[in-house]
Symmetry: C2
């Protein structure tokens, strides 16, 4: 009888509806947000139990995170993909995301590949390009298998010039193609003559000018440049306005002192000055370099890549090497340009989530409130996003500070265990491509990495470790 | 007896020590921060009573603030001071702050004037320069009397090139000299041969290149440029890193397409790219233009200028026209470079407080947390500074948004009444010059405009209005 006489003190865990009923009946209930690890996946739950508080895993993660922090990416120069990317054989095309065959590729990726074949001169038209591919005369591989990254379709063919980012300490190199600007561009699947002409101009004029500038000025350290940009409203994924200006400020004097002709310098500078996203590909290669330093450390649960090919979303994890853990790529519920909706969108696409994997992009959202503002959020939402990422990461990167969070470092080093345990999913800032080739970007938004990839990775690592 | 039995509920107004005593004795007291208006100045208090809630004053302020908001400063070009500044006669030197005679000028201002005479070729050495001045062969006037502004000593002589900022709507023009960079520079009173050589280079090579670029590209709207910079960590007074990059990004393609030689373009770009403060003088002229639009509106208490000559701090107010209200300039209690202290500092100097008068600089501190961080504060302090300025201003400038304050506009249009009433003093970000000429900058910090200027202005305006 005393139980019924006293006031109820209810803590509710699990389904919110139990608490709701009590509140509706006039009682008080506190609902605790909790969900079983791995969304209730039993195997992943056991795997998690194996890996949590494990001394070997903790030591491996400290080593992986330390190596990521120690990497010193320098923008070292530019070169043709065929000459500088290891293993870049003729008739090979690199693409974004985990491995995928031609038949299963999404529209924008197929469109971009056709464009690359036209650019290379391997085919005369769309039909002959498709026949070439279907005859098996072209081989495909993920950019990530060749130390490279590419935004959206992420197509790199042998004649394309690529950025070379180099680790000052180890000499390790990573690569990315050059940003074409917005509008109809190859990376969104466009392949019309103007797109191909622009690729030719990039491979000739722009290449000449940039190559001459690097010959004049040597390289530039990228961490200080990115650090400045984070203090200037960029998160160096969806916003690169400040860092592109800073890069240009460094490049122009070198271009002018170089052997490049005045006409070439003029067109190169005009092109870069007109493209706020020019730095994105460099940012991606720098992030790839920092994360490559953390690869292949046995027992580490630090995520070393997140990438999408428009069909599958995949991650790689340090302790499981080059193995991909994939799941169907989601369609982004973002802000669509007028006349477009989710029904028009290709699923999530591109290697650019490498920035979030490195603690930038969505993880550094507090640096770039303009991005959440654009999709209807507030600066508080931006700070909340970054703060949430602190729950699934191994530490803070003191080289990348966030003014709005009292200059604390950005949360970095995704721990796959923590993602599975908390259900907090890595936030990713992204562009959205039309699902048909040739149309281009139709929106932008904020999406989340799917839980399943992390559950698979954790399960695989636990299975590979000895029982305890 | 009941009074002594009940618990004390104390609200304390005025001296805090009364409340402290109660708290020390174990009681509770709430202290209300309040001070009498105008620091207890009886005349200013009566003047305030005359002006507060006065329909004519309110209407005048709405008009003044509206005119300030409506101004559209464009960077229109560059020209020699003698050709473009109205009333700029030969052997006239413009200086920062309110009017002052040679004998009373501070060290850095005298040093800069000697440098200007050497640059003009009116004198061969320091001695002949001083004789020329003491013979009365040179006339002095505040920059502000000629539609101009200059940072620190603010010296403008006839042969110096000046920025021309033009109001798109009214055609009104304002001017500022060109920024020389940091280190030993004229504006801090240095006048050694390298300083004069740099002034000559600015007046020839840099002038040629900029003039050719403007001939090629026309002008550029400054409000959108400043708005972008506020979203990139600048407050366009003590921090101009982003906006200088954005300006350069616009200038370089125009320079390259222009008639300027490649060598000249190279040296001009290298100079600008190496000087984060290059935009400061343009920012100042833009602020001057926006505030000139609010001048000379009878009965308005909106402040139209705050300026310092290193001896006096002066303000001008819309309703009192070109009259200066001055008080001794304070020495800035800022962050001094190693080896220097307040004992070495010249009192507050320069026209650059025009940026705060226009709602930028210290008033937009929330945009630039790096500045308070530099002097030991936090981003919260930066936001608090901007929020406090909201109590002494007429409104918000929606063209200049602050990401850290949910993209609200910067507080702008200082109401002299509100300063006198609340005792909240306008915050100013500033550099600090050595009191001796030729040494240069020795620190930077955050200072406050003195209350006395505002009390004088309010008193003068009330006296000029009919009794009620």
């Amino acid at each position: 009888m005393r139980l019924f006489a006293q006031e109820l003190q209810v803590l509710n865990v699990g389904l919110a509806s139990f608490a709701d009923e009590i509140v509706q009946a006039g009682g008080k209930a506190t609902h605790i947000e909790w969900a079983p690890p791995a969304g209730g996946d039993r195997a992943a739950g056991w795997a998690l139990a194996r890996l949590v508080n494990d001394a070997e895993v903790e030591a491996a993660n400290r080593k992986a995170f330390g190596s990521y922090l120690a990497a010193q990416p320098q923008l070292a120069g530019i070169g043709p993909a065929r000459d500088v990317i290891p293993g870049m054989s003729e008739h090979r095309i690199l693409h974004a995301g985990p491995p995928i065959e031609w038949e299963r590729m999404c529209g924008p990726m197929q469109g971009a590949i056709v464009g690359a074949l036209l650019f290379e001169g391997w085919a005369k038209d769309h039909e002959s390009a498709k026949r070439l591919v279907e005859r098996g005369d072209v081989t495909f591989a993920p950019c990530h298998h060749h130390g490279a990254v590419g935004p959206m379709a992420g197509i790199i063919s042998p004649s394309m010039p690529v950025w070379i980012v180099r680790d000052g300490a180890t000499g390790h190199r990573t690569f990315s193609n050059l940003n074409e600007g917005l509008g109809k561009v190859l990376r969104f699947g466009a392949n019309s003559p103007d797109v191909i002409d622009r690729l030719r101009w990039i491979a000739t004029t722009l290449y000449r000018v940039l190559d001459a500038a690097f010959a004049e000025a040597g390289g530039i350290e990228l961490k200080p440049l990115i650090a400045q940009a984070l203090n200037m409203g960029d998160e160096v994924h969806n916003r690169n306005a400040a860092v592109t200006s800073l890069l240009l400020r460094w490049l122009v004097p070198a271009m002018l002192r170089s052997r490049a002709s005045r006409d070439d310098v003029t067109s190169a500078v005009t092109f870069i000055a007109g493209n706020d996203h020019f730095f994105l590909n460099i940012s991606m290669a720098a992030c790839k370099l920092m994360l490559d330093a953390a690869r292949d450390i046995p027992a580490s649960t630090m995520v070393t890549a997140m990438a999408r090919n428009g069909v599958a979303f995949g991650i790689q994890m340090s302790g499981t090497g080059d193995r991909w853990f994939t799941t169907p790529a989601p369609v982004v519920d973002g802000l669509y340009f007028p006349g477009y909706s989710m029904a028009d969108a290709a699923p999530d696409l591109g290697d650019s989530a490498i920035t979030e994997t490195a603690g930038l992009g969505g993880f550094a959202m507090a640096a770039a409130p303009a991005i959440v503002n654009f999709v209807g959020g507030t600066p508080e939402d931006a700070i909340a996003n970054t703060a949430a990422m602190g729950h699934i990461t191994l530490g803070r990167n003191g080289a990348f500070t966030l003014p709005a969070m009292n200059f604390s470092g950005t949360p970095a080093g995704i721990d796959a265990r923590k993602v599975v345990d908390t259900g907090i999913l890595p936030v990713i800032n992204t562009g959205i491509a039309h699902r048909e080739p040739g149309i281009g970007q139709i929106g932008a938004g904020i999406t989340r990495a799917p839980l399943d990839c992390f559950a698979q990775a954790v399960t695989a690592l636990a299975a590979a470790l000895p029982d305890q």
